[in-house]
Assembly symmetry: C2
Amino acid sequence: MEHHTDTSHLDRAIRQQRTTTATVTVRHNGSPFAGQEIIVAQRRHQFLFGSNWGESTIALANGELIGYEKELAERRNANFLQLFNQATLPFYWGRFEPQRGKPDTRRILNAARWYQAQGCVTKGHPLCWHTLTVDWLLSLTNREILQAQIERIQREVSDFAGVIEMWDVVNEAVIMPIFDRYDNGLTRICQELGRIELIRTMFETARAVNPKATLLLNDFDVSPAYDILVEGCLEAGIPIDVIGIQSHMHQGYWGVEKTQYVLEQFTRFNKPIHFTENTIVSGHLMPPEIVDLNDYQVSGWPSTLEGEERQAREVVLHFKTLMAHPLVEAITWWDLSDGGWLNAPAGLLRKDHTPKPAYEELLKLIKGEWWLAPTKLTTDANGRFSFTGFLGEYELSTGDQHVTFSVTEKGESLVSVSL
Amino acid sequence: MEHHTDTSHLDRAIRQQRTTTATVTVRHNGSPFAGQEIIVAQRRHQFLFGSNWGESTIALANGELIGYEKELAERRNANFLQLFNQATLPFYWGRFEPQRGKPDTRRILNAARWYQAQGCVTKGHPLCWHTLTVDWLLSLTNREILQAQIERIQREVSDFAGVIEMWDVVNEAVIMPIFDRYDNGLTRICQELGRIELIRTMFETARAVNPKATLLLNDFDVSPAYDILVEGCLEAGIPIDVIGIQSHMHQGYWGVEKTQYVLEQFTRFNKPIHFTENTIVSGHLMPPEIVDLNDYQVSGWPSTLEGEERQAREVVLHFKTLMAHPLVEAITWWDLSDGGWLNAPAGLLRKDHTPKPAYEELLKLIKGEWWLAPTKLTTDANGRFSFTGFLGEYELSTGDQHVTFSVTEKGESLVSVSL
């Protein structure tokens, strides 16, 4: 990794794929609002920049924290909201419903509503996965397991409708039927049904309950197995809205070339792509011989000064590489703060939720280089003004009047607003 | 590898999957042929034991050899026919039709007819592959390449109908669209169509020309990518008759466990499985770091005494492992004699076509332990006799009368024959 990688080709592609030159016609009481000074400012990105939930945020949203714990959680939230507009919320079945019939709906719903109230897009993760599933499936027949899984999807998609409208429906289907670390109900039914039939059943179940939900297939496998599986599912008519790709890079940043190669394998489907679980550590790398990342159990995994600088460079490259690809619509960081999954120094924030260089660099991009700060302009004789900005939501202000509008198509946009 | 591996569990499975106890009722002029001495002898196996063509056999079948070359070819053929009942014939497009419109139909047809006349099942390999394809595709548009590929399938399947009724229709589709060693027409159209749509087109084309042909998908990839591709194709309704699995073990014998694991991944489709290209060398192993076997270019790769003994043990284990699985219906060795592909000592015969221990051991199985030599029996008062044998074709003789019959169902069979 070069310290100063030339990203000008990525920067150009990002502007081409993500920005629009908007011509806005402003009217006031039916007439052109001509020759007036206005202020235009970006309010949100159309692109989803996000992270997974914090346990502390869930606790805070449920009024469970006080004192220093509460302050810490609020610091995390402030940093989250400064940078992000998307949150992935936990639906691991084994934690969500350890006792059959007693799902943890209320707590997660409170957290999801909090994120929604802050203007974030929320996603539930996952509805169907062989890992962290419920033990009580093991005493059921395959037919009963399938029925329980279907009903679990129906319940969650229904209970959270209007708050969570985006779901990782099936997680890690490539390995699901050959997962051999321990017996579990999902591997059993995936072996019996096959991957495609299992995926079809879960997607059709979710779709039937919430026809307008955005439904993802999600996997960490980026070998041909995954794009062949996606192809098989799409050929079979399964209503997959978004291809989800994990990139837990605990063993080292992929680099631009590999990332672009992975993207290339999914480009032919012409479907939106979400990079759903992105990890780059700011400490030592996990040894390359580890196959299942969960096998790497360490008591301490410190973030280092040198590691934080490397992480910052790599995070910038990673985000730019993804933003430059026209089909990518979301990047979700995993985890926002150190000490989450695998106790890895994977955060953009440290354990005390103070920003690392990677956070600062991302902020410079997401709310700096890729953002329109409040800008004074004057409308022309026809009440028009123009600006170039990233797709998303903008606010136009003049005096004490405010109006918001969105630009959603790259290239050129025509917008009309009335004050 | 233990020298004396206990194969009794495999041997039991083979008898269970491959043999039948046949009760044969013999009639003569409409009456039971009672209390008579008869001889029953196996004539062929239902299971396909085969090898790929020999260049010398093709030359011999076309009258191109004389002298020592001819004697050598005849020795190879004698050894081939003593052991095998299936031959795979070469249809590499780049060699078959290097000049557009001038296919090598006659020579291959003569060779196929020769194998057919010797009682062998013939298979054409392959109809669609990115390697060894024709260079003249490179100057065509993708649409023209696709049309040329379709017409090539229509021509071959039609020209060889009645002689070749079994085809490797698409070869190595997992890697086809991402093959990056050199530009070629098939990678181009596979990238555009996707794997499943390409496979569908080729299978439907072959099926339309010869509705009763046996059509294989064939691959060396035994990662989940391949079984997921098969699943996608079957879900998409593509008429695949047989799943073809290559096992070029130049880098070492897989062993029983891996072979059974690979088989297990394809068992759920309940389709016949052919092990289409089997290689175990009797010399040093190719280094493990070689990814594309074609990269291993050596001038000499000798067969050794020690290697031949190891090969013999491994070949026996390999054949027994495959014969023990109920869905496997064919095993094709690659190549029969040393000095073929990659100049590897992969033969069951040496370069001069003399048998190695592996050949002798296979002969003991295929025409010994798994074979019914001529056996004297006496019919009972109802003209009946019983025997247990491997599925296949048998001849009943008495005096100068001969009649053949087949047993095709494992377990128990009832057969009636009339003298």
